[in-house]
Amino acid sequence: MMKRLIIILALAAIALGFFPLAMRISGDSGLTALATHYVEAGADELGAANLVTSVVVSYRGLDTLGEVMVLFTATTGVTALLVAGKSKSHKKEKDSEPDGDGRREGSELLATGAAFLFPILILFGIYIFLNGHLTPGGGFQGGVVLASAFLLLLFSDCRLELNHALLKGAEAISGAAYVAVGLLGLWLAGGFLDPRFLPAGEFGQLFSAGAIPIIYILIGIKVGSELTGIVDAMRRCS
C-alpha cells in the first residue's frame, strides 16, 4: 500500500511538471522559427515534396544515421541472445521429427497464397520507399512492409531457413552505402548527408530531390533486413 502511495505521488509530481508545459503549447502559436524555415525553404532547397522526408533524410540526416545504428545494435543484441546455440539443437530436433506426430503440415492454401503474394508485397515495399519524397511513406515504412512480406513467408512454412548471409550482406552493404552517400555529400555538396550533389530534377517527379530517394532506398533495405532478422530470431518453430 505504501508503495502504491509513493507511485501515485510520483505520478502527481510528473503531472505537476507536465501541466504548466502543456498549457504553454497550443495549436494557435503556430510553427516554431525552425519549422517555419523548413516549410518556407525546404521545397526549394532540397526539392522534396514531402517535408517530413526532407527533415528525416537531410536536415536531421545525422539523427537518422544514428537511429539506424541503434537499430543495428538492437538487432545484433536480439540475434546474439536468441540465435546463439539455438541452431544446433534446432537441427537435431528437426532431424528426429517424426512426421505427423504433434506437428501439423503448414496449410497448403497459405503456402500458395504466400508464394503468390510475396513478390507483390516486396514490390509494394519498394513502391513505398521509392515514393518517400513525394507521398507519405519512406524507408522506414517500406522496410517494415518488406519485413512483413518475409514474415508472411515464415508463417506459411515454419521450417523455412532464411539465407542469413544474404540478409546480413544486404544490411551491411546498404549501411556502408548510406555512409558513402553521406561522404559524397560532404565532398561534392554542402556537408555530410547533403543530397544536393545530384540534380534536383523537376519538382514532384519520381527522379527528383537529389540523392534523397537513394538514401531512402538504402534506409529501406537496411531497416527491412534488420527487422526481418529480429522477427526471424524471435520466432519459434513448434
Binding site: D44, N50, L71, L81, F140
Partner: protein
C-alpha cells in the same frame, strides 16, 4: 485540440508508468513500457500540431507559397517516425532478455530475482 491530445498522451504515459511500477512480472512490464512509448509518441505529435493543419506534403492541394499557416510542424513527425522504429527494436531486445531470463530461471516474476536486491 492540442490539449486533448496532450491529455490522452499524458494519461497513456501515466497508465504505462503505473503498470511498469506495479506489475510484478517482466512480460507485463514490457507491455506497460510499450504503452508508455505510445503515450510519449502521441504527446510529441500533439506538440507539433497546428490548428487546422494538414500534412506537410506539397501537391496540387497545397502550394509551397503561403504554406506556413496551413501545415503542421514536420520536425516532431520526423522524430516520432524514427522513435517508433527504435521502440520496436528496443522492445524486441527486452523481450529476448525476458526469454533468456525465463529459460535460465523458469520464471518471469520480479520477486524471484533476488540478486540485485538491496
Amino acid at each position: 485540440m492540442t490539449h486533448i491530445v496532450l491529455a490522452i498522451g499524458f494519461l497513456l504515459v501515466c497508465i504505462g508508468f503505473w503498470g511498469l511500477m506495479t506489475r510484478r512480472e517482466v512480460f507485463r512490464m514490457i507491455i506497460s513500457f510499450s504503452l508508455l512509448d505510445t503515450g510519449v509518441h502521441v504527446i510529441m505529435v500533439g506538440i507539433g500540431y497546428v490548428r487546422a493543419g494538414t500534412a506537410p506534403i506539397f501537391d496540387e492541394a497545397l502550394a509551397v507559397a503561403g504554406a506556413v499557416g496551413k501545415v503542421v510542424d514536420p520536425v516532431p513527425s520526423a522524430l516520432v517516425l524514427t522513435a517508433i522504429v527504435i521502440g520496436l527494436a528496443v522492445t524486441a531486445l527486452m523481450l529476448s532478455f525476458a526469454i533468456r531470463l525465463h529459460a535460465s530461471r523458469g520464471s518471469l516474476a520480479v520477486d524471484d530475482m533476488k540478486e540485485l536486491k538491496w
